[in-house]
């Protein structure tokens, strides 16, 4: 039980670090970029430019329901690319989950600084594929 709480606290802390980095990063990266049109523009920017800057590749798939939910899929997420455990892929996927706290925060911080408040969660389907769920809380 206590272990669970520690895990939660660590996740939150990592997420906050990512948030801070995301904020600072977009401040610099968007310096020479024309102004954004709408929310989709900003999310696209995160998928392309921010992802390239942070992970040297773009998001592979972006889906949206046009009602404020965006699903970003990365088929070869760089941070999970070299991970494996003795317990097989399922076990590795589960253990890789905490490593997504920072990227989640990164996305949330980037969006926040660009004027969109959102909740961001992640999921590892099968390592190294992972999805990020972005839910716009209000814009």
């Amino acid at each position: 039980m206590e272990n669970e709480q520690h895990r939660e606290a660590a996740y939150l802390k990592l997420e906050m670090m990512g948030y801070r980095v995301g904020q600072a990063l977009v401040e610099r990266l968007t310096r020479d970029r024309p102004r954004f049109g709408d929310t989709l523009d900003v999310v696209k920017y995160v998928c392309k430019d921010l992802w390239t800057a942070a992970f040297r590749k773009q998001i592979d798939n972006l889906k949206t329901n046009h009602k404020g939910v965006y699903v970003l899929t990365d088929n070869n997420f760089r941070w999970l690319l070299r991970m494996s455990t003795e317990g097989g892929p399922g076990d590795a996927s589960r253990k890789a989950y905490p490593f997504l706290a920072f990227p989640c925060g990164l996305v949330r911080g980037a969006l926040a600084n660009l004027g969109i408040s959102a909740a961001v969660g992640a999921e590892v389907a099968l390592i190294p594929q992972c999805t990020f769920h972005v839910k716009i809380t209000k814009s």
Binding site: M16, Y19, R20, Q23, A24, V26, E27, R28, T30, R31, D32, R33, P34, R35, F36, G37, A112, N113, L114, G115
Partner: protein, 148 residues
């Protein structure tokens, strides 16, 4: 180029940093002007004005002996520069360059992990009280010379 004042205005149109280079008697006036420019910036950046996606907003207004220039960043930070009008022609390319440097200085500053967030305030909502940042801005403003 005679730069009188450089002002950074945050996301909620709250002043986060005002550097007066003109002398103490102008302090209040420049504060006032940078607030007035918020309205003009809002007007220029509103969704109704189609087609312009440039961060640089150009000349905002003139008052007596001064001219106000502004730009807005993608993160909704507004930078306002007040120039004393002399008989020089202000070139947009010069101003763009200046705003770029001012924004870079700001980006460098907010990258400092020890700056805010401990009280949960988002970037661009708290007053900057850094001596170093103040010096950097002053250096940029003083060293900025118009290209012939």
């Amino acid at each position: 180029m005679n730069i009188q004042c450089v002002a950074y205005i945050g996301k909620q149109n709250n002043p986060i940093f005002v550097k007066n280079l003109g002398g103490p008697e102008n302090e209040l006036r420049y504060h006032f002007i940078s607030h007035v420019s918020c309205d003009i910036i809002e007007e220029r950046t509103s969704a109704a004005v189609k087609g312009s996606t440039d961060l640089y907003l150009g000349h905002l207004s003139s008052m007596e002996d001064i001219a106000v220039y502004g730009c807005v960043t993608n993160t909704k930070i507004k930078i306002v520069v007040i120039l004393q009008l002399a008989d020089i022609i202000v070139k947009d390319s010069d101003m763009r360059q200046l705003f770029k440097r001012l924004h870079s200085a700001y980006a460098n500053f907010v990258s400092n992990p020890f700056y805010l967030t401990d009280d949960g305030a988002p970037a661009g909502s708290k007053v900057i009280a850094s001596k170093k940042f103040s010096e950097t801005v002053e250096n940029i403003a003083r060293s900025h010379v118009a290209t012939a």
